[in-house]
Amino acid sequence: MDMINVQNLKMYYKTQKGFVQAVEDVSFNIEKGEAMGLVGESGCGKTTIGMCIMKLLASNAQILDGHIYFDNMDLVPKDEDEMRPIRWKGISMIFQAAMNALNPVIRIEDQIIEAIVTHDDVTKREAQERVAKLYQLVGIDPARAREYPHEYSGGMKQRAVIAMALACDPKFIIADEPTTALDVIVQDQIITEIKKLQKKLHMTMMYISHDISVIAESCDRIAVMYAGNIAEYAEARSLFKHPLHPYTQGLMNSFPSIRGPRKKLISIPGEPPQLISPPSGCRFHPRCPRAKEICTQVIPEFKEYEEKHFAACHFAGG
């Protein structure tokens, strides 16, 4: 049963200099209870996908084509008023706490209560109790709920953001770089926490990160994004065992491995393209070691090559 089903999503930003083709023909699905990872370099569009699903786009962003099915409901044609009840109650988001995701002049408890009373018909008292339970769930002392964001440490803020995301019992949660900018020890704690919660509450999640090692630890299926396209989408094991897309292969090669013989790290030459005028055909062809004539002209189809293993490459595998 699909919780999320994105089909042929196309989203551009309109700027003074032209259209930035941020998301191009993206399709994927996430089943109920599944944790999907979305990984890619900075600027590849992974956060943008998350924003698209929640329709939290800037005023110059336009979804030009495609569908985003959430629980069999297409979100693309919905306007702000129609999206509001769905937000947080249906789909919520765990933000990067290193950002200013929490309003500095409002008490954290009040910020969570605000979300609760907007969507659920409860009294303030009941909302406060729910906050206390959430805090226990994520591992913060409930007595500290009345404090302000600047009084929390980085790890605590992240936990508070997680608690807030869970407040309305959403069906689907998007976690956008939840551990970036935290130190490794805290990072580990948070990832463990999220995994624990996901299993316990059977949450359906989309985990966005640029750090493939974090994604590998916590996700069932992983999608690799490059320059606004999904290059490859497979179950975690399958992806690591035999990556089909040259970009994924390049990523695997550029990570050192603790086990096995020491080998030289091969990085992928070049830089990601400017999305205002992306390369013709396959967007990866300028950096691809296996690029041929056809790659510069024809956009590769996103096909299923093995069971539940998709890739967009003319020469997948090999």
Binding site: S92, F95, A101, V105, I106, T118
Partner: protein
């Protein structure tokens, strides 16, 4: 109690600043060529009065003694004798003080509230006619000389349309027969006189507040917690007022404290144009009349009120921003 300590600390700073100001004034006047005694004594005074003042201020003693005596006298409210009115300076100023406080406090508060409210709305509706009109209006009032605006107000609203009185603080007839007029009528009278100068001064201060609030809102709206608020499915006015507004008004509150001195200058001009009997118009009048004791006294008192007003604005800021540790 941190707040108490904060206030006490600031009050101490104010005292030091006042001390410096008074010293500077003392030096300023004494540094001018001419007989220092003529600063306190006017030829119009009777010999008896001259003698009293000489004694009280130690005018025949060396300068540093005069300084100490001057300071001590100030603490007792002894500013000397006004040349023009032939009365004790402090007594005169005490009567003018409430008017200045009334005009200034209401203008600043009104300008702040309306400025924040309007600035918030126009930043939210970027690119609308409202924003355009308000911004142009704001710039217009910001660059217009306030006294000129006051004159035009008087001309149109008092002279031509006769809605408001031309100047002054109260209509003598109503006040002289207090037995016949109810206190409501008295208050109404003051309000009628207050209306124009208040409008004039408020509009002038408000222009700056509104423009700043608009800029502050635009910056605040880019913050991440606004995205969070949208993601939570909150409605527009909640996001605008509670999330954006509460943060955007912090720089404006700081700016109020910093621009208080400018507001005071505007207040002085307003009082002059509308013949509003406050410290500002007294200062101007005394200067034009070469009434040194009165001018000095008015200035010193004005400075003191200004410093207290800045303190009030600072306290407001500390109250609004939970991140400040004091």
């Amino acid at each position: 109690m941190d707040m108490k300590r904060f206030i006490i600390k600031r009050l101490a700073e104010i005292l030091i600043t006042m001390f410096i100001i008074i010293t500077l004034i003392f030096i300023l006047f004494r540094a001018m060529p001419g007989d220092p005694a003529s600063l306190m004594l006017s030829p119009r005074m009777t010999p008896e009065i001259k003698h009293i003042i000489r004694e009280r201020f130690g005018l025949d003693k060396p300068l540093y003694v005069q300084y100490l005596v001057y300071m001590r006298n100030l603490l007792h409210g002894q500013f000397g004798m006004s040349f023009y009115y032939n009365q004790d300076v402090y007594g005169i100023l005490r009567q003018k003080l409430p008017q200045t406080i009334l005009l200034f406090t209401s203008a600043t508060a009104l300008a702040y509230i309306v400025g924040i409210y309007l600035g918030r709305i126009i930043a939210w509706r970027r690119g609308s006619m409202l924003e355009y009109g308000a911004t142009v209006g704001g710039i217009l009032f910001y660059t217009m000389p306030i006294f000129w605006f006051g004159l035009i107000c008087i001309w149109v609203l008092s002279f031509k349309l006769d809605i408001f009185p031309i100047g002054g603080f109260k209509t003598p007839e109503i006040w002289m027969s207090t037995a016949n007029s109810s206190s409501l009528a008295l208050i109404f009278d003051i309000l009628r006189h207050l209306a124009l100068p208040l409008t004039c001064l408020t509009v002038w201060i408000f222009a700056g507040d509104m423009l700043l609030m608009r800029n502050s809102m635009l910056e605040t709206l880019r913050e991440d917690y606004i995205l969070t608020a949208r993601a939570k499915g909150l409605n527009e006015s909640t996001i605008r007022n509670k999330h954006a507004g509460r943060n955007a008004m912090l720089p404006v509150t700081t700016a109020i404290a910093l621009s208080m001195a400018d507001s005071f200058s505007g207040g002085v001009l307003t009082e002059t144009v509308f013949s509003w009997q406050g410290l500002g118009s007294t200062l101007v009048e005394a200067t034009l009349n070469y009434d040194y004791p009165l001018a000095q006294g008015a200035f010193i008192l004005l400075a003191a009120v200004l410093l207290l007003a800045v303190l009030a604005a600072d306290i407001l800021y500390v109250y609004l921003d939970p991140r400040i540790k004091y």
